[in-house]
Symmetry: C2
Subunit: 112 residues, 2 copies
DNA sequence: TAAACCATGTTAGATTATCTTACAATTCAG
DNA sequence: CTGAATTGTAAGATAATCTAACATGGTTTA
């Protein structure tokens, strides 16, 4: 809240710029999308748009590829990470609710 | 530190995306550059590249323009802000040096 | 080992994005 | 009123992106 805009997550970077930032070819970047490793959004007329977060993931993919890891293996790794992280998020959400209960009507926020 | 890359300052956004983000026309965005309110960098083949910081400034410009402030006035406001901020930066740099002197050989850094 | 799959390059043709320059129109300041 | 300020629009050129297809060399798998 208050920062409706996360610079890191906002998808505004074109594929050309991503290519420069990562050193990957556009072909590779599109292929990793096909293999469901990244999920750019699209502009009105269909151009792919990436976030800095996507760029970081692509760099990670590039490193794993250099180590010989296949794209389907990378996908599985990410899936596992996501499961773990979702579990933690859920835990925190529950924590948050409990805190809210015990902290009284602070409007649900723990830090004002 | 640790993230040598500032998402906010890195110039990677094309003019079309900036236009969508700000609601300004490309004509307006280029004009504000001509009036020296913003300073995009250029890609290899000459395309303008903006940062999130530029986008925020453009939104600020748009607000000021709606209030009827002329571009040369806006430029002067920014110049004043910059002078003030530079003065503060200089002060902090001097502080930093003094701290380094008194803190001994921490390699010039105040926070490891 | 042959067939299938993986990862990437390259090409082609189409469409969209961006650039610069120029002219037009409106509004505003002196 | 006159000239500067702001923005739109048009034209023509070049660059960026898209999809689909085919090529290729390496790796699995049946």
């Amino acid at each position: 809240m208050e920062n409706e805009w996360s610079y890191k997550e906002r998808k505004v970077i074109s594929i050309g710029a991503v290519s420069e930032l990562t050193g990957l070819s556009e072909r590779q970047i599109r292929y990793y999308e096909e293999r469901k490793l990244i999920f750019p959004s699209r502009s009105d007329r269909g151009n792919r748009k990436y976030s800095f977060s996507d760029v970081e993931r692509l760099i990670d993919i590039a490193n794993k590829r250099e180590e010989g890891v296949r794209t389907d293996e990378i996908r599985m790794e990410y899936k596992k990470e996501k499961v773990k992280e979702d579990r933690e998020t859920r835990k925190k959400m529950i924590q948050g609710q409990l805190n809210a209960r015990f902290m009284g009507q602070n409007n649900g926020k723990r830090f004002s």
